[in-house]
């Protein structure tokens, strides 16, 4: 549904994007992650046709974003960073204007405006001037605008920034509902948001695509690997390394802290060997204080791919 092929973008001497290639399938919800200034907004602006790429191509629904810009724009709902709106218009009036320039016929327009107003919870403010709305409502007007023409592709640049926790939940719920018939690309640097909403993750760092996988993929074989941490009191003279012969153990690190030994055991993701480790430790006479399995998280992946290597 969305393809980017070797996108590069240069602002004067600064290279904002370097060789970014990715593809998003129809109905997918993709989280676009990266530190501030990594190139997320630039990529989204290229996809929406607001900025041209310096080289490389991108296509939405089979249309090239540079050559068939209008066709692409007909098929996307775009929420730009910072949600720019006209303060002097009323919420409903603004949505009517946007629906009209997006080519909706009069009858269709009335129906879809009513539908996005109720979906985005704007009933109470439909006749208010946008300039007088709170940040949360303005954000929702922006999302309603992106949805109003029911486009197959949604590009949302930081859709939940500035919202309170309840509003964040509502927006995430809305985005989850949209998946399936809509293709959604959303940028954020809130990692739990991606875990809550997205099926796939793309990580961009310094203008380069450094990682791309599904969330299940990250849990199964993500960076950092599956680990089991054990805190135990060992009998005098016991060797912590003795536990290493349990099948499934790949690596082991040990920390000593005032009589308590803390072991981090890197293991294969499957099968679950917590029971084997427990029995082995008990046979060795260890007193187990805590035993916990840690699956690789998005945070591990993110940190690994966006720090160091300067």
């Amino acid at each position: 549904m969305v393809q980017a092929d070797r996108l590069r973008k240069q602002y004067g001497p600064n290279l904002a994007l370097d060789d970014v290639t990715f593809e998003v399938e129809r109905g997918d919800i993709v989280g676009f992650l990266g530190p501030n200034g990594a190139g997320k907004t630039t990529t989204m602006r290229i996809l929406s046709g607001f900025l041209p790429a310096s080289s490389g191509t991108a296509a939405v629904a089979g249309y090239d974003v540079a050559r068939d810009s209008i066709e692409v724009r007909r098929r996307i709902g775009y929420l730009p960073e910072g949600v720019p709106l006209y303060p002097e218009m009323r919420a409903e009036e603004y949505l009517a204007f946007r629906a009209r320039i997006k080519g909706l016929a009069r009858r269709e327009r009335r129906r879809s405006i009513a539908s996005v107003i109720s979906r985005c919870g704007l009933d109470a403010v439909r006749r208010k001037l946008i300039g007088s709305l709170s940040k949360g409502y303005r954000q929702r007007v922006g999302i309603a605008d992106a949805l109003v023409s029911d486009p197959p592709v949604l590009i949302l640049d930081e859709p939940t920034i500035g919202l309170d926790p309840n509003q964040i939940r509502e927006v995430r719920e809305l985005i989850r509902e949209l998946g399936g018939d809509h293709t959604v690309i959303l940028s954020t640097h809130i990692l739990p948001e991606v875990e809550a909403v997205c099926r796939r993750v793309l990580i961009i760092h310094r203008g380069r695509m450094v990682f791309g996988d599904t969330l299940e993929g990250i849990q199964a074989h993500g960076a950092g690997g599956t680990r089991i941490t054990i805190e135990a009191r060992l009998p005098d003279g016991a060797r912590p390394g003795a536990i290493q012969d349990v099948p499934g153990v790949e690596d082991l690190s040990v920390e000593e802290d005032g009589g308590v030994t803390r072991l981090t055991v890197h293991v294969t993701p499957e099968p679950d060997i917590r029971g084997d480790l427990f029995r082995r430790a008990a046979d060795l006479g260890w007193t187990i204080l805590e035993l916990r399995r840690i699956k690789p998280s998005l945070e591990d992946v993110f940190v690994r791919h966006t720090t160091g290597e300067d």
Partner: protein, 236 residues
């Protein structure tokens, strides 16, 4: 051009919801009333020839105020991004903004018809020259607004856009005056590029194709440059 009406209506809404338009209108009405008394009533002639010269200058000062926010404000607030990612062409955006400002300008121009009414009530003015003068002022307004719109396409700052428009308008104003008194190879070019000589033809009661062509062609020229300036924001 399908989207021009929708974009145009948004311009009208925003124009009539901002205080600036009303301030410009009020100041304009005050000065036009004052100068009408000064020129027409004082000279005891039932003619608008002198008064239309004054109106020209009032419009020259007012036009930058009407046009300076048109695109600058969209850049500053970022709404240009929502606008340029909607399925509308840059030409449609520029035309809608031009027509929006022209509507307000026309309203200002029509408000001066009250003075024609005063002349008609107290004297017996010749209507032909007055109509010609109004046609000239209307065409001149189109040129001023197209130029101001172009300046607005260059900067996210309303002040910069407004001052630049005022300076350019003064330049073509001076060209007209200077071109008629100067000698040398550039004099005819300056006289042609300047506004005043063309406007005088209308003010004297004639509608000449050559002078109408001057205004229409310059209006199109500035609108074309505006579309280019807007497009160039995509290619930076």
């Amino acid at each position: 051009m399908r989207n021009v009406p929708a974009l145009f209506w948004r311009e009208i809404v925003s124009m009539f919801f901002t205080p600036l338009a009303y301030i410009v209108l009020t100041v304009f009405l005050f000065f036009s009333g004052f100068f009408f008394y000064w020129t027409a009533a004082d000279s005891l002639r039932a003619s608008l020839t002198d008064f239309s010269g004054v109106l020209t200058f009032l419009f020259l000062v007012a036009a930058p105020f009407l046009t300076m926010r048109l695109l600058s404000d969209e850049y500053r607030t970022g709404t240009i991004e929502t606008l340029m990612t909607a399925p509308v062409t840059d030409t449609e955006i520029v035309l809608a903004k031009f027509l929006g400002a022209m509507t307000f300008f026309t309203l200002m121009l029509l408000s001066t018809l009250v003075y024609v009414g005063v002349l008609a009530a107290l004297g017996d003015p010749e209507m032909g020259p007055i109509l010609a003068a109004y046609a000239g002022l209307f065409l001149m307004g189109a040129q001023f607004i197209a130029l101001g719109l172009f300046c607005s396409a260059l900067s996210p700052s309303q002040i910069v856009a407004g001052v630049l428009a005022l300076v350019l308008l003064l330049v073509i104003w001076v060209f007209g005056a200077a071109g008629t008194v100067m000698v040398g190879p550039f004099a005819p070019i300056m006289a042609y590029a300047g506004t005043l000589p063309h406007l005088e033809v209308f003010a004297n009661g004639r509608i000449a194709f050559r002078d109408a062509f001057y205004f229409v062609s310059f209006t199109c020229f500035w609108l074309f440059l505006t579309v280019r300036a807007l497009e160039s924001r995509r290619w930076r």
